[in-house]
Amino acid sequence: MTGYLFLAILVLSLIAFYTGRRTASQFVAAHRNDVHSRPIYHGAFAAVWVGLPALVLVLLWLLFQGSIIDRLLLASLPASLTEGASASRLSLYLSEIKNVASGRIFSEPSPEVSAAAERYQRWQMIAQWAMVVVALAVAALALYITRARMTARFRARQGFERTLDIVMILSAVAAVLVTIGIIISLTYEAIQFFRLVPPHEFFFGLNWEPQIAIREDQVAGTGAFGAVPVFTGTLLIATIALLVAVPIGLFSAIYLVEFANDRFRGIVKPILEILAGVPTVVYGFFAVLTVAPAIRQAGGLLGISISPNSALAAGGVMGIMIIPFISSLSDDALRAVPQSMRDGSFAMGATRAETITRVLLPAALPGIVGGILLAASRAIGETMIVVMAAGLTATLTANPLEGVTTVTVQIVTLLIGDTAFDNPKTLSAFALGLVLFVVTLCLNVLALRIVRRYREKYE
């Protein structure tokens, strides 16, 4: 039903476009140069004003219809049922009514419920038809009004462009609103957590054992929420990743910009960038099935015992994943250094190596640092590889051969299985998430700021 309505609005809008354009063409024929806007703008203006209000109306209607009908339903129930019932009890009634109305009957419903289900079906029908009628009426009215307003001097282009402006502003704001929503929901739950666990214990405690019982009958530890080992684990894995990615990324960028011929660069650069497109799950396989056993074996040969979930395996594979960030941003930064700098250095009798280390790298440094920071923020927030390849126990260690856990791994494991939002186990995931969000946000802002300042310098 709703689908047909959308189709109808679209058709009306199209009609408005073609008739609007035709009307305007007649103005052009009649008045020549006196017509303000070109016919296509008249058409677009009419189409937008016929389509948009009706569409917005339908969307709002759909948004509120459900809750209004629910409220009416509850009000219509006999007072004996609703008197003093809890909110969850009421929502249980509602879902029972809806089940009966849609024919999913598990047991013989009580007469009150059957009656309510009937009412529900009837109201639903009325609401839907009312929506169709109102929406089409709005569209038709808009069509009439826009036709009436159309004259040769009518500023259709301004009208249409203003509408487009509003649409673009709304799109831009949408992303910001979503971000704010994320922050609010994270902060809200994190505050709940900090009511149960004091912040100093979370930020400075050295013991992380969050798997506590959610129901009384579960057997579990008493719980400890000192997040320091989780933070250091993240830091250790991210550091290993950067130790792998920075030299490889930087050297490959230098080679591609300064030494490689066009053909080689044309082949290698896209391949390097494919690395960024490999799903992280696939990197996870690679880490668990290939890299970790290889590292263990190598350790065995040397007589070192290495944990199967070593930070080295997870960090190393993550490093490979972030190589493209560093190489491609460093590549851009080096390429942006003007040729005259290279000429100036070569003309002084500098070798290629001297030119690169003393002139090009210092000049490109801000861009390179920006790339490294973006890669670092990516490494800290990366989840899939570490979930698969890093460990689950929070060990406070700087030894890359031991298993460590990361913030993202903990968030995943805390939210899998039984969850209850009055329990510190579940809530601690949000506190961790908030910390993660703040840290990566700061890194990103810093990186973008550095990159931008650097761009201004040359362009």
């Binding site: 005259s340 070569f346 009798g349 000049a363």
Partner: protein, 271 residues
């Protein structure tokens, strides 16, 4: 051969003003960019402690010839040079010659000032540092100061040696680039339209400087300005379509040229 080289260097150091021996010599130089030939059999001598001006309309090959003199064309992949170019009678395209060493002896100043994004001090110290010319920190300070003095920039920047060189005005930047080139004590300085990005006052200042530098250095300058060629050079070479049209003392070139094309060009009939 080597003795001759040493002798030539010595005269250069003593700065004999009237010595007109050829410091650099090009013989039948051809340059190709890919399949396109940019220079045709150019033979031209560059006199020691003189300013040689290369003039001619755009695309005539004068910059190409200049860039052959310190093998800057090597940095262009598709460029190919044939013929012979000598510095103190030594073939600079001989495989035994190290291009790094050559460029330390034949410095270059570019059309657009291109100071490195470093401090004024570091810009000038760049060459001495990479060539290991200063053993102690004090030596480096001395080289930087004399170079800036020779380039006529020292008094303007002595209080802000550690501020970025890119913060100077265009004319100051160009003199900084000249100081940078001087700092490695080259024998020849090549200048590729060094004043084309400068205003008239800065241009006058740089021209004055070129005249002073002639005492100690051999200078080759590419210029689009006839007046500039007349003011600063002792010899002038006229290029056209990749050919050397005519070459001779600047006075004679501007008063009584032999070739009709030279006459047309300097009187502004074409170019």
């Amino acid at each position: 051969m080597n003795m001759l080289t040493d002798a030539a260097v010595e005269t250069a150091l003593e700065g004999a003003p009237e010595s007109k021996a050829a410091k650099m010599r090009g013989e039948k130089v051809n340059v190709f960019y890919g399949g396109k030939q940019a220079l045709f059999d150019v033979s031209l001598d560059v006199g020691e402690n003189q300013v040689t001006a290369l003039i001619g309309p755009s695309g005539c090959g004068k910059s190409t010839f200049l860039r052959c003199l310190n093998r800057m064309n090597d940095t262009i992949d598709i460029a190919r040079v044939t013929g012979k170019i000598t510095l103190d009678d030594e073939d600079i395209y001989n495989p035994r010659i190290d291009v790094v060493e050559l460029r330390a002896r034949v410095g270059m100043v570019f059309q657009k000032p291109n100071p490195f994004p470093k401090s004024i001090y570091e810009n000038v110290a760049y060459g001495p540092r990479i060539h290991g010319l200063a053993s102690a920190k004090g030596d480096l300070d001395g080289i930087v100061e004399t170079s800036l003095q020779k380039a006529g920039l020292f008094n303007e920047v002595k209080d802000r040696l550690h501020e970025p060189g890119t913060g100077l005005s265009g004319g100051q930047q160009q003199r900084l680039c000249i100081a940078r080139a001087i700092a490695v004590s080259p024998e020849v300085i090549l200048m590729d339209e060094p004043c084309s990005a400068l205003d008239p006052i800065a241009t006058a200042r740089v021209e004055e400087l070129i005249d002073e530098l002639r005492e100690n250095y051999t200078i080759v300058i590419v210029t689009h300005s006839m007046q500039q060629a007349a003011r600063v050079s002792q010899r002038t070479a006229m290029f056209h379509l990749g050919n050397l049209v005519e070459e001779g003392p600047t006075d004679k070139m501007f008063t009584n040229p032999e070739d009709k094309r030279t006459q047309d060009y300097i009187t502004g009939r074409f170019g």
